[in-house]
């Protein structure tokens, strides 16, 4: 068991270290990614589809007008953790909600 625990811990550490440079510069790296995603006219369309498929697996989808742009940005990241969304799905859903509220 100790060996397995060590392996899991090592795997997690390796994931962080390997992705470290990208992670450390994520805010900078994300900026163009977000900008290009915002410029992508299909992002909101993909987001609408992901929103319908992922949110409804647990609860009624909320009205986009329920929350502001900033609030959706946080709430969807919470759902990224809870529902196992990919980063791209997360950004697409945020784009859809922010363009629909």
């Amino acid at each position: 068991m100790k060996t397995i625990s060590m392996m899991v811990a090592a795997a997690a550490t390796a994931a962080v270290l390997l992705a470290g440079p990208a992670g450390a510069q994520q805010s900078a790296a994300n900026a163009p990614a977000l900008q290009s995603q915002n410029a992508d006219p299909m992002a909101a369309v993909r987001g609408a589809k992901s929103w319908g498929q992922n949110c409804a697996q647990c609860h009624n989808p909320r009205d986009p007008k329920d929350l502001s742009d900033e609030q959706w940005r946080v709430v969807v990241n919470h759902m990224r953790i809870r529902a196992g969304l990919t980063g791209e799905e997360t950004r697409d859903i945020i784009r859809f909600l922010q363009s629909s509220n």
Binding site: M1, K2, I4, S5, V8, A9, A11, A12, A15, V16, A19, A22, G23, Q26, S27, N30, L34, Q53, A56, Q57, C58, H59, N60, P61, R62, D63, D66, E70, Q71, R73, V74, V75, N77, H78, R80, I81, R82, A83, G84, L85, T86, G87, E88, E89
Partner: protein
Amino acid sequence: MTQHTRAMEIAVAGAFALTAASIQSASADTATDQLRAEIAGASIFGRNTVAHLAGYGDVGFASVKDGTRSFNSANFNPIFHFQYKDFLFFETEIETMTLAEGGTKVEVEYANLNYFVNDYVTVFAGKFLSPIGFFKQNLHPSWINKFASAPPGFGHDAVGAPTSDIGAGVRGGFFMGSLKANYALYVGNGPRLELNGAGDEIEMVEAEGATGNADNTMLVGGRFGVNVLPNLQLGVSAGSSKVAVEAPGGLEPTRSYEASGFDAAFQYRGFDIRAEYIGQKVGALASSVAPEEGKWTARYAQAAYRFPGTGWEPVVRWGKVESPHADQEIKQTAFGINYWLAANSVVKLGLERNQGLVGTPNDADRVLLQFAYGF
């Protein structure tokens, strides 16, 4: 007054009105800008950090057959989210419950820090809802749960499914061709064993996260889920560790602990159908004050249907808990009718038909009424 003079007067009056309106508008703009600046200045957060308050609250009424009738719940569960740029995320849910005997109970349901390493990997650490299983992690909030109570063994009763753990791990989602998968893998302090009053049997597995880890062992666990269809998710989960009894004479040698689970969820045109099984098994240890092994299982199946264009939603649920101890076992058939006031607010009326050891609460039928609001 000539027509020309009157036209001049009207023109002058109009110009005056426009000028006044312009001045007023400029004044209003300035006031708005000042107000915005004041609000921005008053915020404790800058542009990089966003804070958000979410959560849910509920009130409930229960009538127990041949027993008590009371407004049995008034709960407030605020959830705080803090996000730094787009890669750091902290979330915590504080559970505040009004107790039967009065007073208030406050618990940290979860509090964890998440680092979005890339699009597919999130590293997390802290107290988190157990990824072993699905209900506790994703469906327990009262505005999401479609019945007025948690399925037997999936609530805070500590007899069926693990509820939370404290540790660290990785989680995320990815695509396998056209199939969407999600995963969570973690290391945590794991469960503890609770002895019965006589001290010669394991009463239950206490699987709610704690910072203590007397037996010095770690649990490795996780869940893997895959959407075999966009509206059909299947999940398997497991956990393995060693646990030790804290006997009056001291800490005993460790024994095995295994948890396993299976869950399924399907949505189609107003139907929401789901089922889940979780088992926890503690191995035997001849030298222990409680030498026998023990196995606790909890399972439920639930179907709900939302009538199109209305707020009405009937729901039926079946659940069962098996335990080495007869007083912990329960079979339940439950029927309910929900009315959704909004996507995040529901009134639930339910009837539980419970079968358990005669004379115990597990054998008493209940009528439940609950009003829940998620925000």
